[in-house]
Amino acid sequence: VFSYFKALAGMRTLTRSDLEPVMQQFRDFLISKNVAKDIADKLMESVLTSLTGKKMDSLTSLTSTVRRALDEALTRILTARQSTDIVAEISAKRNMKVPYVITYCGVNGVGKSTSLAKTCYYLLNHGFKVMIAACDTFRAGAVEQLRTHVKCLGEGVELFDKGYGKDAAAVAADAIRRAKELQYDVVLVDTAGRMQDNEPLMRALAKLVEVNRPDRLFFVGEALVGNDAVDQLTKFNQALVDHQSGARPQLIDGIVLTKFDTIDDKVGAAVSMVYTTGQPIVFVGVGQTYTDLRKVNTRSLVNALMK
């Protein structure tokens, strides 16, 4: 794609104006990979800043210099700074005889309930006892969807539900209490999908989080999403700040990236989401069955992006 940028032989110090046309090409390239436009702009701006004034070996082309800098920037962004080892965290909490709670949130239809079921399968395989809390009390079929999963998942998992129309925060609290009594290791809390601009629903989510203080609050986002990824995450976090009363509101602390099997190498949503939150991708969904859950591999993600 970039081959028409010939080596600028004899050049010594890179200036903004040398770099800008190449930057434009790379920015469009990132957008074609489904990185949100704003993020692509910011990324290229930071690459530009880092390269301006640098001395360049006259034998390497401008394009490959930029490419290397971008590769480094992407790797840095996508490398998790926080732990993503849920199993270790659950094991650590096991001795305290209180269940480890994970809450899933996100906009409609992204794969929250399915990812929750996949995580459940993964945790059952690690020997944990799991309770699933049906706190999507709104969407038709949401409870039956989880009940079906529980039936398929077999031993070691139980559904806690109160049907439809109930206050989700209260259902979650009941479920956690019950799980503690019955000595479950983990509670997975499913929530209804909600649009980030829907204030009453965002308020309800903040309440659920504030009341129950889950160990982890996962944001589920699909790899298909475009520019809206940035807005979704920004507004979910903002709503969590605005609508929790305590001084230390709990925010999103992990990302589940779903439908990774539907996008070929247009993997840019991963960059948009991690860049926006600074939070790691804990799991990647790569299909519709229980085993289609992966840990992220930063190198192959960057390779797919740069391809």
């Binding site: 969807q145 790899a223 475009g226 520019n227």
Partner: protein, 306 residues
Amino acid sequence: MVLEGLGSRISGALRKMTDSTVIDETALKEMLKEINHALLEADVNIKSVVQLRKNVTERVKLEELAAGVNKRKVIQKAVFDELCSMLDPGTAPVTLKRGKPNVVMFVGLQGNGKTTSCVKYAYYHQRKGWKACLVCADTFRAGAFDQLKQNATKAKVPFFGSYTETDPVKIATDGVNRFKNEGYDLIIVDTSGRHKQEEALFAEMEQMAESVNPTDIIFVMDSAIGQAAYDQALAFRAKVKVGSVIITKLDGHAKGGGALSAVSATKSPITFIGTGEHIDEFEPFKTQAFVGRLLGLGDVSGLVNT
């Protein structure tokens, strides 16, 4: 509606150019750049954006425009035409015939709103006097039949489905036949979510279409989709005869540009949009009127006929 957010950006760019005194190469470039930004932020397929820019630039060879010709008008029309052709597939939506058993099949990616939209579609038509009914041919997703059942019950629309049958083609065929015999004139078939990367799922969709011989196939697409929209839409169109598009979740913040890409890929018009989770949050969509409003030009016909 959020697609209009895109519209106001574009018409803003056009107006800005109108306000600047001299229309030269720089002014044109600046305006196209702004329109580009707006389209990219709205998730319009990047190839289409590049193409639009190229086409407009080619059509508006400023130096060749004779003195006295209204340059602004020429530019505006070029932009308008390009956007129209992106949004308007040039094919009329499929018309359903009263009193005949019309079969309408819903297809699309996972979680994009098929089940919800199909009940909305049934409800909308029922209120207009159609004898509508629903067939749940999603045997894959956990709780799919319960979801359709609960929604259909709320909408008071008859439904057909099974908890035990695992072959969606069989359910679709049985359901359609049964409702045909019972004299329904709008039989709506809900199907599982699928994507182009999984061939077996596409083959199943083809078989189903062959078996129920639909009057229309509606491709449902989530307005938040990004650059993958075009390829997926194209792949669906290549397998089955998509005749209409429904864009969902426009009550969110997404500008819906992926949807424009879907239109250009399926060559089918957007007929309805979804604007919420509730059954009545569903509106008919008119492409021409929309493009007119999109550009804030009021009287569109004047432009079209220049």
